[in-house]
């Protein structure tokens, strides 16, 4: 807890007069002198439905606070008037890559070249998701039929699975990415620990399915029937029979949410048991 308290102090998580005063000063000066150490955040839109971006926006005032104090949105076709991919600290990539569309291929390569951290935002970028089922034949580019998750073309640092990814997870990753790049030593340590399992997911692979639960949890003797997978499934393909998950695999859209959410896919004892302190830090950062 010592670590958490010192972190709270530096980013004003605890209500304390000094923190409030600094915040006000920043507020007043904003127009004249922007916050200096903001990170550069971008949203790269490939073959996705914009649901992930809507989830980003669904943080409402939290997003405004992030853009005020922690990050500049330097690239986002929908929200920022920038035509070419600039240098970015963190690139949130939504959607998979159509390999018949050379512009998409160039764009993801350029994203990798110009970003310190590439985040696969949502399940299409991470695992292909619903775009795995594409067979082409759509007007006016019927030859666009092959879609790959970005991890098949470039190295990806962090996965945020979900269809759409939950606004809260995007928010957590954004705050942690800021702490990792701009924080003090303690903050960097916390952010590193927090992001580690999401980085491990990025290393694990580019395919996902209900089968992951069978292969890596149930068959491995790890399932304890808690029910998390059913709650996380966006298409309600998972039910529980006698306390164990059953997936209707024809319904599965291969988003990987069930595996990512499962407490037996990853459970980091140096982070999750600190849920109270870390939730306060995140809430404090966005106040």
């Amino acid at each position: 807890m010592g670590l958490l308290n010192s972190i709270k102090k530096t980013i004003g998580g605890e209500a304390k007069p000094a923190g409030v005063a600094t915040e006000k000063k920043v507020e007043a000066k904003k127009e004249a002198k922007p916050v200096a150490n903001k990170i550069k955040l971008g949203h790269v839109h490939l073959s996705g439905c914009t649901g992930c971006l809507v989830s980003v926006a669904d943080n409402y005032l939290g997003l405004i606070k992030i853009l005020d104090d922690y990050a500049d949105l330097v690239y986002c076709l929908t929200l920022a008037d920038v035509r070419h991919i600039p240098e970015m600290d963190v690139a949130l990539v939504e959607g998979s890559v159509c390999i018949q569309d050379h512009e998409s291929v160039e764009e993801i390569k350029e994203t990798r070249k110009k970003s310190k951290v590439v985040v696969a935002l949502g399940s299409c970028a991470s695992y292909g998701n619903i775009t795995r089922f594409a067979r082409g034949g759509q007007h006016n580019q019927p030859q666009h039929e092959s879609f790959l998750p970005i991890g098949n073309l470039i190295d990806v640092d962090v996965y945020i699975p979900g269809c759409p990814p939950s606004p809260e997870l995007i928010r957590n990753v954004a705050v942690m990415a800021y702490l990792l790049l701009q924080g003090n030593a303690d903050q960097k340590a916390l952010a590193g620990k927090y992001l580690k399992p999401l980085m491990a997911l990025a290393k694990r692979g580019t395919t996902a399915c209900f089968c992951d639960l069978m292969n890596d949890v149930i068959n491995q003797g790890l399932c304890m029937g808690c029910g998390t997978c059913a709650a996380s499934c966006p298409v309600r393909a998972i039910t529980h029979e006698f306390g164990k998950p059953q997936g209707q695999r024809d319904l599965c859209i291969k988003c990987g949410s069930c595996y990512g959410a499962c407490p037996r896919s990853f459970f980091n004892f140096d982070v999750i048991p600190e849920f109270e302190g870390i939730s306060e830090i995140i809430a404090g950062a966005l106040k």
């Binding site: 807890m1 989830s55 669904d58 699975p161 979900g162 269809c163 759409p164 990814p165 939950s166 606004p167 809260e168 997870l169 957590n172 927090y194 399992p197 999401l198 890596d216 949890v217 491995q220 003797g221 790890l222 399932c223 304890m224 029937g225 808690c226 029910g227 998390t228 997978c229 059913a230 709650a231 996380s232 499934c233 966006p234 529980h240 006698f242 306390g243 164990k244 998950p245 988003c255 949410s257 990512g260 959410a261 407490p263 037996r264 896919s265 990853f266 459970f267 980091n268 004892f269 982070v271 999750i272 048991p273 849920f275 109270e276 870390i278 939730s279």
Partner: protein
């Protein structure tokens, strides 16, 4: 704040019993979880609670969202088989529209709740809406068919006739409606345990806001750990309004010593299991969920 390697973090630990006679009639021990949820619902601390109600078969639990005192009371008592509580976590906020969700569950389910709060993978609207999580002590759980084997094959009782089951004093106890009491030594029941329980590193729901279970307290009473700010707030208000009688844990037998002993037994054994999985095959490991 006490921080114990086996019992987790807690601010208060007491022995307690509900003062609600109706709840105590069918409660497993001190009726703590039921009373807390009823209190939280009536005070507007929660809008509804995910509890383990009745399933299709005798003694089969099914999680459901209780939104009244009557509904919560339907979930009294321990079932000794799996109720996938977390399957309703997002349903409660999204389909039922609850802003303040109460949830009861065993240790692994408290872990699941906290993971869903910090890493909400496709858990939109969940992290900020957990208003009260009450965890239960849990040594291990049984699949439905395991429990059926124990009750019908080993104890020779029909599941329909069972009034109450409990594990205590080293035995599995089965009480029937007509007054039969059958006990089985736990060495008979061990092999029927759910395998997933054998890698669990938590005995007293370290991640609940409040956690409770019979171990450590006299018959009819429960041991209660108050762990978080939320838990402390609810617990102190509930005690102040007379929902519980309490005794200091230091004053009761067998007390915290037994809780610690059993927690150590479970966690050390399961740590060894997790370790053993690394050398399970020939140069092949089973997957480590905590790596």
């Amino acid at each position: 704040m006490v921080s114990d390697p086996y019992l987790g973090k807690y601010t208060t630990c007491v022995s307690a019993r509900s003062t609600d006679k109706e709840i105590l009639q069918k409660a497993q021990d001190g009726g703590i979880a039921t009373t807390l949820m009823v209190y939280a619902l009536e005070q507007g601390i929660i809008d509804g609670a995910i509890v383990a109600g009745k399933g299709d078969r005798p003694w089969q639990p099914r999680p459901f969202i209780a939104m009244s005192r009557e509904d919560i009371l339907k979930a009294r008592g321990t079932k000794y088989n799996i109720s996938p509580q977390i399957s309703l976590l997002k349903e409660a906020t999204r389909s039922f529209g609850l802003d303040k969700v109460g949830i009861t569950g065993v240790c692994c389910q408290m872990q699941a709740v906290r993971k869903a709060q910090l890493y909400p993978v496709n858990m939109r609207d969940v992290p900020g809406k957990i208003a009260l999580a009450v965890g239960l002590f849990c040594m291990e759980n049984f699949p439905y068919k395991s429990m059926q084997c124990i009750v019908e094959d080993h104890a020779g009782q029909s599941l329909h006739s069972v009034k109450k089951m409990e594990i205590g004093k080293g035995k599995y106890w089965i009480y029937t409606e007509r007054g039969n009491v059958v006990t089985l030594p736990l060495k008979v029941t061990h092999k029927y345990e759910q395998p997933g329980c054998h890698v669990c590193l938590d005995y007293v729901s370290n991640l609940g806001d409040i956690s409770t279970g019979s171990v450590g307290s006299p018959d009819g009473w429960s041991t209660v750990f108050v762990r978080t700010k939320v838990g402390n707030d609810v617990w102190s208000k509930a005690v102040a309004s007379g929902m519980f009688e309490t005794k200091p844990i230091e004053g009761v037998k067998p007390g915290l010593e037994l809780v610690t002993k059993l927690a150590k037994e479970k966690i050390d054994k399961n740590r060894a299991t997790v370790e053993g999985r690394k050398t399970f095959g020939v140069n092949k490991a089973l997957r480590d969920p905590y790596a």
